[in-house]
């Protein structure tokens, strides 16, 4: 079973075949385009939302696909491989990967950079019975991800802490 995802540059287009071919018992697609994000940002009046508001006002869209499976093992690394393959292009960088043995959860974060500007981000969160795929289209700072985590269909508890001089890569925390 291959999960059919396709990643065009501007917008995430998820092949319809996934619903027929995959074993998922539940699939949810969320599309928040620029207009919807613009409306949402207008209604974010709390001071606590200021950073999130600033962040989403720059984005062109947030696209989320969540797949739920009945039993663990109904999707494997091989199924997710086509998605990883699409994120191997020269514009994409795999910035962090967290494997939590306790939670049996893997989270990978990829950023797309064009002319030294981050123009997109993909989060791939794998749990034994759940696979969540998020694409943020537009300028986004990985360190600001915490502002969106838990909202807009983005899984909770994903934070990227800034890399310090002793580290080559930023750290990611996945909190439950």
């Amino acid at each position: 079973m291959k999960l059919k995802f396709a990643l065009p540059s501007a917008m995430l287009v998820l092949a319809s075949g996934i619903t027929a071919g995959a074993q998922a018992i539940k699939v949810v697609n969320v599309t928040l385009d620029k207009k919807m994000l613009g409306l949402a940002s207008k209604f974010m009046d709390d001071e606590d939302d200021a950073a999130g508001k600033r962040m989403i006002s720059k984005l062109n869209g947030i696209y989320v696909r969540s797949l739920e499976f009945k039993n663990p093992g109904e999707f494997t690394a091989a199924d997710v491989e086509p998605i990883h393959a699409q994120l191997q292009g020269p514009e994409w960088s795999h910035i962090v990967s967290v494997n939590s043995k306790a939670e049996k959860e893997n989270v990978g974060i990829y950023i797309k950079t064009v002319n030294n500007q981050t123009v997109g981000m993909v989060i791939l969160a794998e749990e034994p019975t759940e696979l969540t795929f998020v694409q943020l289209d537009g300028p986004v700072n990985p360190e600001d991800l915490g502002e969106l985590s838990g909202n807009f269909g983005i899984p909770k508890g994903i934070h990227v802490t800034p890399a310090n001089k002793a580290q080559e890569q930023p750290k990611t925390e996945v909190k439950k």
Binding site: S16, T19, A20, A24, I25, K26, V27, V28, N29, V30, T31, L32, D33, K35, M36, L39, A40, K42, F43, M44, V64, S66, K70, N151, F152, G153
Partner: protein, 192 residues
Amino acid sequence: MSRAWLLCLLLVSSAATAETGIATAVRLVESRYAVRHHGVPGLWLAKPFMIGSGVSGLKVAEFDNFHIPAEDSYTLKQQLSKSLGAEWHPFVEEWSKRDREWSVIYTKAQEGKISMLIVTSDNGDGLTVVQIKLSPKALDQWVDDPIGSATHRNATGSKGLVAQKDVPKQAAEDHAAEDQTDAEIASSHAAK
């Protein structure tokens, strides 16, 4: 005289085609599957419970004992998007094999409010088409947790929103205009 009638017909027709929504979705389902919708008797009884929920302008059409075949949902969504036009944005789509449910939710910004159109089909309840207006606070809740809001909504699309007590009472202003669904669909049919 016949000119006047033609003019009237054109005016009605242009008014009907100018605004898409629940009538568009119902008409599409009826023509595609040769089924008939019915309204919800006593829907007005639900209105007092909606005040303060951030949800208003409730319109509901039901198709009993009919659900969208899983293999047809993709095509129907394509047609629905085309019929509704660019002003309606696809927001959430959900398939559940377990519950044999398919739902699609569109949103439209209009006069500072958000209209939401929900088409949901499952084996138990048949096909239901709902249109509501959301207050900014209610929209905020949907946007914050679109998956949860879509999964836990009830037939009126309002579960989870009803629990929100501190939203402004914007629902009342639209109540006078509610329950127009059948009239809207009928005029849409007539214009067609």
